[in-house]
Each structure stands twice: as structure tokens, then as C-alpha cells.
């Protein structure tokens, strides 16, 4: 079981300086390799001695994976190793894609944002305490979910999309990136491929041991945000037990194009409700052409939680998600928390 020993198991530390070298090393060592970005998720695993990789590929020396570059289409390309603080402070992102700024700024604490990277934030592993404690659950390759039991501690767990495992995705930047129609650039031995942000994340039905599509040998190199939603009406809200340094119980990212008070188009994404950030496509379709007001928000909130299955201790997430959707569409004042 997990005992913090603070002394990591021995491994070979490899420090490439180019993305090509990094990918080659990952390819060479396959499932024996561990990708180290900011280290904030990694060091938990390593110091708890739950993950014992033979090789750690440290990306901190790969400069080409850092930085925020304007793209010719009016969007931006963000290197996977760009820190969350750099994302938050970047003027282009702040002005045109404020949704991501808000999401990134609400992640963890200032110190963690200084060290944590955007690539690491979207690729971090589940926070389920049973899984993180090293118990042999489904996600760890076993045959049981300890959280989805009558006695299980499952207050933070999934209400939608559960399939044996009920862990949720903990990222704050992921829903914002999906709402902004971002694309993830992945380098592998077969070359570079670009996937839609929402296709980067996978649920337990597809692969119960991963939260994203990265396989051994794959390297997330950059995230591209197109100009499509630049300057749209954005809404990001994160609900957590304490207002600093905590993972979301739920968060919501919404991008809407509104004209004459009516919603022309919208992308709404909730995280913390399932093992992957959930894009609420039924809600997006339902609110199209409708006024961005309380009534629409009310209808959308009810639609958003259809099919939700609460566990023993997380039924609160259903009204929470309903109200988050309502606030994202109608504004904070339409669904106060009092």
C-alpha cells in the first residue's frame, strides 16, 4: 500500500534536448519509460513507489516543446511543456482565448502553476484515492473498483460515463481546450498526428487503464487553438472543497457566440463528472437559437444531467452540474448558490 517513502526507486534518467530524441527514447523503452514534464503528478507516483519505471525521460531540456506562438490562422500554438503560469499570463491567450486563461489560473496553487505544464495538466492521471494508493483496482489492471461499492469513499467520483471504474479526469485546462476546439499534436514513431482535443481523452470503456490516447512511445508536443472561438463569450467555473490548491469536484467551460441575445453556437464541456471531460453536445444543440437567459439555462441544466447515476456519496454532483450549466448559459445571477 502507498507509504510515502520520499526515496524514489532507482531508474535511468534520460534528458533529451530535442523532441525527436525524446520521442526516440520513448519509442526505444516503450512501457518501461515514464514521461516527466513538470513532475507534479509523476513524483507522487514515484515517491509512493507505486510506479517503478526503468527509465524516466525528462522533457525539461527540450526547448522546442516550450512557448506560445501565434498561428497564421489567428490562433495559437502552445508547446506541451509551457507552464500553466505562462499560459495564464500570455496576452494573446488572455485577450482572445480567456477561457483557457481562466481554467489554467484555477488549477492548483501559484507554485504548482509555475512548475506544472499544460501538457502535464491535460495528461495527468486520475486522483481516485484507491487507485493512487496502489490498490489493485480496474485502473491498475485488477478486477474491482473499490470506490464503486456501498462502503466506498466516492464523493469525488463519476456520475456519468462510468464503466467499472468510476474515477474522473481532474484537469482544469482540458475542458477549456475542448470548448475552444483545440487540437493536440502527438509525435510517434509513425510521424506526427493531430487529434481533436475531445478525442484525446478516453473513458474506461475504451481503455480502463488510461485517461488519454497516448500509448508507450507517444509524445504530446503541442496544443493548437484555432481562431474559431477567439473573442467569444466565455464562462469557466470550478467548484472545489477549498478555494486554493484543490482539484475540481466539477468544473465547466463554455464558449458561446451570441448575437441579439440569442445563442448562435456553443461548446460546453464539464469535467469531474466522468473519466473524460464531457462535451455536452445535446445541450449545445438544444440551446442553439435560443436566448442566453435563465429559462434556457434551466432547460439545459436538466438536459445535461440526464442519465446521471450517482454513487453512494456523490449525488450532490447532479444538482451541482445542473446549476453549473445553468450559470454558464444564463449567467451567474440566474443560479446563485445561496
Amino acid at each position: 500500500m502507498a507509504v510515502i517513502r520520499d526515496v524514489m526507486p532507482a531508474f535511468d534518467l534520460l534528458q533529451p534536448t530535442t523532441a525527436a530524441d525524446a520521442q526516440n527514447l520513448l519509442q526505444q523503452h516503450g512501457s518501461d519509460a515514464w514521461v516527466l514534464a513538470g513532475g507534479l503528478d509523476s513524483f507522487d507516483w514515484l515517491k509512493d513507489r507505486i510506479r517503478k519505471p526503468k527509465v524516466v525521460v525528462d522533457l525539461s531540456g527540450v526547448d522546442e516543446l516550450r512557448g506560445i506562438r501565434p498561428a497564421s490562422d489567428g490562433g495559437v500554438e502552445i508547446g506541451a511543456m509551457t507552464t500553466l503560469t505562462e499560459v495564464v499570463r500570455n496576452p494573446i491567450i488572455k485577450e482572445r482565448f480567456g477561457l483557457l486563461s481562466e481554467g489554467a489560473e484555477l488549477a492548483a496553487s501559484p507554485q504548482i502553476r509555475n512548475q506544472g505544464t499544460l501538457g502535464g495538466n491535460v495528461s495527468q492521471d486520475a486522483r481516485c484515492h484507491y487507485y493512487r494508493a496502489g490498490w489493485p483496482c480496474y485502473r491498475a489492471g485488477g478486477n474491482i473498483c473499490y470506490a464503486d461499492t456501498p462502503e466506498g469513499r466516492n464523493r469525488e467520483h463519476a456520475i456519468l460515463g462510468a464503466d467499472r471504474c468510476v474515477a474522473v479526469n481532474p484537469s482544469d485546462s482540458a475542458p477549456a481546450l475542448i470548448a475552444l476546439e483545440a487540437k493536440f499534436v502527438i509525435r510517434s514513431s509513425k510521424g506526427e498526428r493531430v487529434v481533436e482535443a475531445e478525442d484525446y481523452f478516453i473513458g474506461p470503456g475504451i481503455d480502463i487503464t488510461r485517461l488519454n490516447i497516448l500509448k508507450p512511445g507517444d509524445l504530446l508536443t503541442a496544443i493548437r487553438i484555432p481562431a474559431t472561438w477567439a473573442g467569444a463569450k466565455f464562462y469557466f467555473e470550478k467548484i472545489r472543497d477549498r478555494n486554493v490548491w484543490d482539484f475540481a469536484l466539477l468544473n465547466i467551460a463554455a464558449a458561446m457566440k451570441v448575437s441579439g441575445g440569442n445563442i448562435d453556437a456553443a461548446r460546453i464541456v464539464v469535467n469531474g463528472a466522468a473519466a473524460r471531460p464531457l462535451r455536452l453536445m445535446a445541450v449545445e444543440d438544444a440551446i442553439k437559437g435560443k436566448p442566453a437567459n435563465a429559462a434556457t439555462g434551466e432547460m439545459a441544466g436538466k438536459l445535461a444531467v440526464e442519465g446521471a447515476v450517482p454513487l453512494q456519496f456523490n449525488a450532490y454532483k447532479i444538482p451541482l452540474m445542473r446549476n453549473l450549466v445553468k450559470r454558464a448559459i444564463g449567467g451567474v445571477e440566474v443560479a446563485t448558490w445561496a
Binding site: 489492471g141 485488477g142 478486477n143 461499492t149 456501498p150 473513458g203 475504451i206 481503455d207
Partner: protein, 279 residues
């Protein structure tokens, strides 16, 4: 590397969690090797079938042109079971070899279909068919001994013609029975671990060790079925067996094939010209 994967439970107990997935390849390769060896043997080394005795002219005269072999109900059962079994194999093992899709729901639905079809088969075979036709009898053993001796070059009389099912069919049925029942019984209990339409989830129905053994048994029977199904499909497609395969589609086989391979005294058919309707 063993055939079982172990883990330490939260209570410090070392328990099995499932089979080592390498066994998927072991059984697939074993099944393939059997097919290759059999195909080479059948093509280059197998002697022509030889049977002792021959049916009398009077008996031959009573045999219809198309001999009913499988009733409509029996054929429906076979193909429903085949579809569910193939679905189970595909949904169980493709994700393990890297083809990702949400397989669990398809898997338990196919498992439920298989379970219902097997229950139907047990009732149907017990009360509406010749129950003993599929079980090896004394004559099968004697004939198998004769064939083995002749294969080894020893002196032995030619075996008699088969009853409704050759011994190989009966042995295969026995193997499928064992593996099928193992996956069904363990699979029904495993449905308590996932959300289905049938039972409320109860992962604490058994202890970790019992659950682990159940997963291992389910896995072992499952990988065995990979090889067994490969072998079954191979024989179904072999030219000399196509008549039998067609009878599983259309219900009957030609009189000539029946008289050449089967003993009318051991498998009596009614003198009718209509197709189908036999057990």
C-alpha cells in the same frame, strides 16, 4: 511469468486477478498449429475412410433422398450460440490486443444471450431430442480403438459406420460443454461486478480470492475457446465436412452421404421425403 497474474489486496493478501494475457496468443497459435498440422496430414498422409459392413437393400430402400439431421430449433440454437460466442470472443480479446472499443456492454449482452440459448439447449436436448446421441458409447470406444490400431499399422477390423455423431464430434461437444459452462457460470457471477440490467452491483458477493479464481477460470476457459472455435470453424469449412455444415443450415444431408458414413442401425431415420424435423 506464470499463467496467472497476481496482486496484493488492500488486506495484504496475495490474490489472483486474472490470467496472463500472453495466453491469448498461446492458445491462438496452438489452434493455428493444430489446423496446419491437420491440413498437412489430411492432404498428404490420411488414408481413405474404410468402414465395415453395409446396410441391407431393404434398409437402404427406406432411407429418404434427404436425411433430416438438425431440426429448425436445433439449427436456430446453433447459430444463435455461434453468434453470441463469436461476439464474446471478439469483445473479450480484441481490446486485450490493442483494438479499443467500449466492449463491456456488448460482452455481457452476448453472454446473456449465450446463457439463455444454452439453457434452452439443455432443456431441448434433454426432453425433445435423443439426449444420448451426443455422448460417447461403447461402440464409439471400440471403433476408436480399431481406428487407432489401424493407424498404428496393427491388424484390426475396419470400424463400423458412425451413429448420428462421430466420436470426434462428441469429444468436441464435451470440450465445448466444459469450457462453455465454465465461462457461463463464472460470467454470470462476474456480472455482479459491473452494471447490468439484471442484478444490483455487489462486488463483495465473494472474497478477493474467490473472485480472483473466478476471473482466472473465466479467462482460461475463454482462451481455450479461442482454439476450440478456430478448430470448429476449420472443420466446418473442410471440403469433406461441408455436407455436415450444410445440414446445419438446411437441416438435412443427402442419402448417399448418410449411407456412406452413418450406420442406419445406430442412427435411424424416418422414411419421409420432407426436409428437416429431426432432432
Amino acid at each position: 511469468m506464470g499463467i496467472v497474474q497476481w496482486a496484493t489486496s488492500p488486506f495484504g493478501q496475495v490474490v489472483p486477478i486474472h490470467i496472463a494475457w500472453i495466453l491469448i496468443w498461446v492458445f491462438a497459435i496452438a489452434g493455428l498449429a493444430f489446423l496446419v498440422v491437420h491440413a498437412i496430414w489430411a492432404r498428404y498422409f490420411a488414408a481413405a475412410e474404410e468402414f465395415s459392413g453395409a446396410p441391407s437393400a431393404a434398409v437402404v430402400a427406406t432411407v429418404p433422398a434427404e436425411v433430416p439431421r438438425h431440426s429448425f430449433a436445433a439449427r436456430m440454437f446453433h447459430w444463435i450460440m455461434a453468434a453470441s460466442m463469436l461476439t464474446l470472443l471478439v469483445t473479450a480479446f480484441l481490446p486485450k490486443v490493442g483494438v479499443r472499443f467500449p466492449w463491456v456492454t456488448y460482452h455481457w449482452i452476448a453472454g446473456a444471450v449465450l446463457t439463455v440459448s444454452i439453457i434452452f439447449h439443455i432443456v431441448h436436448a434433454t426432453f425433445f431430442m435423443d439426449f444420448w446421441a451426443i455422448w460417447p458409447d461403447k461402440e464409439d470406444i471400440e471403433d476408436a480403438t480399431r481406428r487407432l490400431k489401424r493407424f498404428m499399422g496393427q491388424d484390426a477390423p475396419a470400424p463400423r459406420r458412425f451413429a448420428k455423431y462421430p466420436l470426434e464430434n462428441k469429444m468436441y461437444h464435451g470440450a465445448i460443454l466444459l469450457t462453455g459452462l465454465a465461462v457461463i457460470v463464472t460470467g454470470v457471477f462476474m456480472m455482479f461486478r459491473v452494471r447490468t440490467a439484471f442484478f444490483p452491483r455487489n462486488p463483495y458477493l465473494f472474497g478477493d480470492m474467490t473472485w480472483g479464481m473466478m476471473y482466472v477460470l473465466h479467462g482460461l476457459a475463454g482462451v481455450s475457446l479461442i482454439a476450440l472455435i478456430m478448430i470448429h470453424i476449420y472443420f466446418a469449412l473442410r471440403p469433406e465436412k461441408l455436407v455436415i455444415t450444410k445440414s446445419m443450415v438446411f437441416g438435412s444431408m443427402p442419402k448417399e452421404y448418410y449411407l456412406e458414413h452413418h450406420d442406419p442401425e445406430r442412427w435411424t431415420v424416418e422414411a419421409t421425403t420432407s426436409k428437416g424435423a429431426s432432432a
